[in-house]
């Protein structure tokens, strides 16, 4: 048990911070913990949460994905054409939107792995390409999403926000089993020590390819969910989501050097960021001061995560 808490202390810290912030938010909100308040909060959190999941898969293999926001923008614009009409058509459309995201991620992965290039450079370039295509599809925001479906997915089930149920499914139905597969283990091995992973007989090329494809897949999911929340297509959303996804994974205890952190942490980080934003909105602080406070909380969270360096009696441990 102690080992478990120690090895997951980053997630534990992120969880505690989230609970404290959420309590503050509900406490200051005039309507308290109503389904309405929680649903809006959860929807905003899940959009960034899925983007943070995308960023997580790139960061855990010691990479970074600057095209997360761009993939969201592109898939959002595709969704604004495909998610209306017959039930069958919408079903196909949802599949196509997510598949487009995964394809974008696969493209990133192929260039990174076979071109032997730095992820930061590759995704910077592909981000422009994806946004370019999105702008061709939707020069100005517009399009439509089926309202009934959008309502079903962005409201609540028996008072529980659907977004929280989806978050639970992502964690319980996808992440926890995934962590126990060879691929899940391989991601961490690759990010922590590529040489050791290679010598252990791990197919490092395949793992890296899979990681970026998963990043694209979650970028697509984020774009899809964004479409349901806003019910329009907008090619201009990329930059904000890319930067916030990086901030979210860092807040959630994922180390940018790779090999450390989890999807749960990334999701928690995203919800923390959104909670801060909402808290600020209702607390009467000027909205212009929001980046200042977000930045301070980001810095504080990282400082807490690194605090155990102070306990180290061997100075060399501070550098490892």
């Amino acid at each position: 048990m102690l080992d478990y808490v120690r090895s997951n202390r980053r997630e534990v810290i992120a969880g505690v911070v989230l609970v404290v912030l959420l309590a503050g938010y509900i406490g200051t909100h005039p309507r308290g913990a109503s389904t309405y308040v929680m649903t809006i909060w959860a929807n905003q959190g899940l959009i960034l949460g899925l983007a943070a999941c995308a960023q997580f898969f790139a960061v855990v293999v010691r990479g970074i994905d600057l095209s997360v926001g761009a993939i969201m923008a592109l898939t959002n614009c595709i969704a604004s054409y495909l998610l209306d009409g017959s039930a069958l058509g919408i079903g196909f459309g949802m599949f196509a939107v997510v598949a487009a995201g995964a394809a974008c991620g696969l493209l990133n992965g192929v260039i990174i792995v076979y071109g032997r290039l730095q992820p930061i450079v590759v995704t910077l370039a592909t981000a422009s390409i994806f946004v370019g295509i999105a702008l061709l599809l939707r020069p100005t925001p517009g399009g439509a999403i089926n309202y009934d479906l959008a309502d079903a997915i962005t409201l609540d089930v028996l008072g529980i926000p659907t977004a929280l149920i989806i978050t639970g499914v992502v964690i319980m139905g996808f992440w926890l089993p995934f962590r126990r597969t060879g691929l899940g283990l391989g991601l961490y091995a690759l990010g922590s020590s590529e040489q050791a992973a290679f010598q252990s007989g791990i197919n490092t090329k395949f793992i890296r390819l899979a990681a970026f494809t998963l990043a694209g897949f979650f970028g697509g999911l984020a774009g899809l969910y964004y479409s349901f929340v806003t019910t329009t297509g907008d090619a201009g959303i990329a930059p904000g989501f890319t930067l916030n996804s990086i901030a979210a994974v860092v807040l959630g205890g994922v180390l940018l050097r790779g090999g450390v952190g989890s999807l749960v942490g990334a999701l928690a980080g995203a919800f923390i960021l959104k909670t801060i934003a909402s808290l600020m909105f209702f607390s009467g602080l000027p909205s212009l001061a929001q980046p200042l406070f977000e930045g301070m909380i980001l810095a504080a969270a990282i400082a807490i995560g690194g605090a155990d360096v102070l306990r180290a009696r061997n100075k060399l441990e501070a550098y490892s």
Partner: protein, 492 residues
Amino acid sequence: MSKHFGATKALDDVDFICNAGEVHAVLGENGAGKSTLMKLIAGALQPSHGRIRVDGHDVLLTSPQDALQHGLVCMFQELSLVPDLTVRENLLLGAPGAGIGWLRGTGLDTARAVLERIGGADIRMGVRVADLTLPQRQQVEIAKALMKKPRLLILDEATSALNASVVESVFELVREQRDSGTAVLFISHRFHEIEALADRISVFRNGRRVETFKKGDHDYGDIIDMMVGQKIEELFPDKPLTDEDAEVVLDITGFNWDGRVKNVNLSVRRGQIVGLGGLDGQGQGAFLMGLFGLLRKTTGQTAISGRAAELRNPKTAKQQDIALAYIPEDRKTEGLILDQSIRENLELAALGRPDLDATDETLYAPSLEQLALKHGGLGQPVSSLSGGNQQKVVLSKWLAIKPKCLLLADPTRGIDVKTKTQIYAILRQLADQGTAIVLLSTDYEELIQLCDETHVFFDGKIVASLSGDNLTPQNIIAATLNIAQPAQAAHA
């Protein structure tokens, strides 16, 4: 089979056969091509020419994965463990039957059993590998290799950080593997280990196989001659007579740290080499680190040439008035900056000493010459050197500050015989010139042959101080296990 790196021929037209059911030791200096051969067999490198045959069939090994499928399992000198994952996860990594799908954890029981047999019962499966000590990591590495049920097991310096009793239990396991038909390739620089384990021995030199013979066909002297191609007269330099009244250079009293080093007193006289022995993690390593200012909250007094010195951090320790140097245990991560050039690495210790000009080549040139560093230009990255030559760079770097006191943590681990003799010779010479030398070693031959006095640590304390006729393998081993003997009790 050949392997070329650019113009360098690491392996030149080598034929090599290893039979099932034998332990085949491979000997050679660093850079003789042993490790390259092992990497070819393990699929980490591909041969420039030639073929590899397993059970009479040609195989193409393009990655470690291919090699694993043919039952070729390698325990690399550079460990293949992932620091951020737990012991359990590391064992599962690349385990048989573990693809990218669901991990069932088959083989973990085998690994657990192996760990228990080789003295690793206290290694918990849920602990991160980064939190383990170097010897513990080697134990995990051994368990990881054996759970793959190898047909050919390569042990490349696999026991270099382990102490004698653990090594013996590892050997027992290896012998069992051999008797059940596994072929074992064994690389070690410790002659007594090869004596204990090998059935046949192959000697490599300069990328060629010199000879293969049964153990016992040649004695140590012959084998060393084959390895170096010339005669080495003596492995260890002669010990001069100890001068009981010589000036005390380094004097430590009441050294304590964090309950892991307990009330250690140590003094080193001019001309003395003092050895530190003991099982792994008994406080001797922490003691050296603490002296060099790497640990927080240490207590005790340190005096150098009679003057009290406060060693807060390495920067103060290396200044002129103290001039302490520390050669760390892990040269790749703590001793060198691998991507920087040899020259830049050599300048690092003198940098930050106001009285020295770090770019002055005469600071390190003499020791480089004496150690006969083999290099392709000082502008080359230090990572291009073999392990033994890297260690020479670490040593020269610190000798540049003309240390009054030199602390060494197992400096000859994984290093070939010729480099060892060069290091021994320079240490003895430094001692004669008045440098106090403290040498931590896991090789008791060093503690006996090189050191004038050896202190054995157990549970953070010095339990025995051996010198002169008391300095015997039996006494050292008894002391490491803390079995008090009357003769030592009086001494300690």
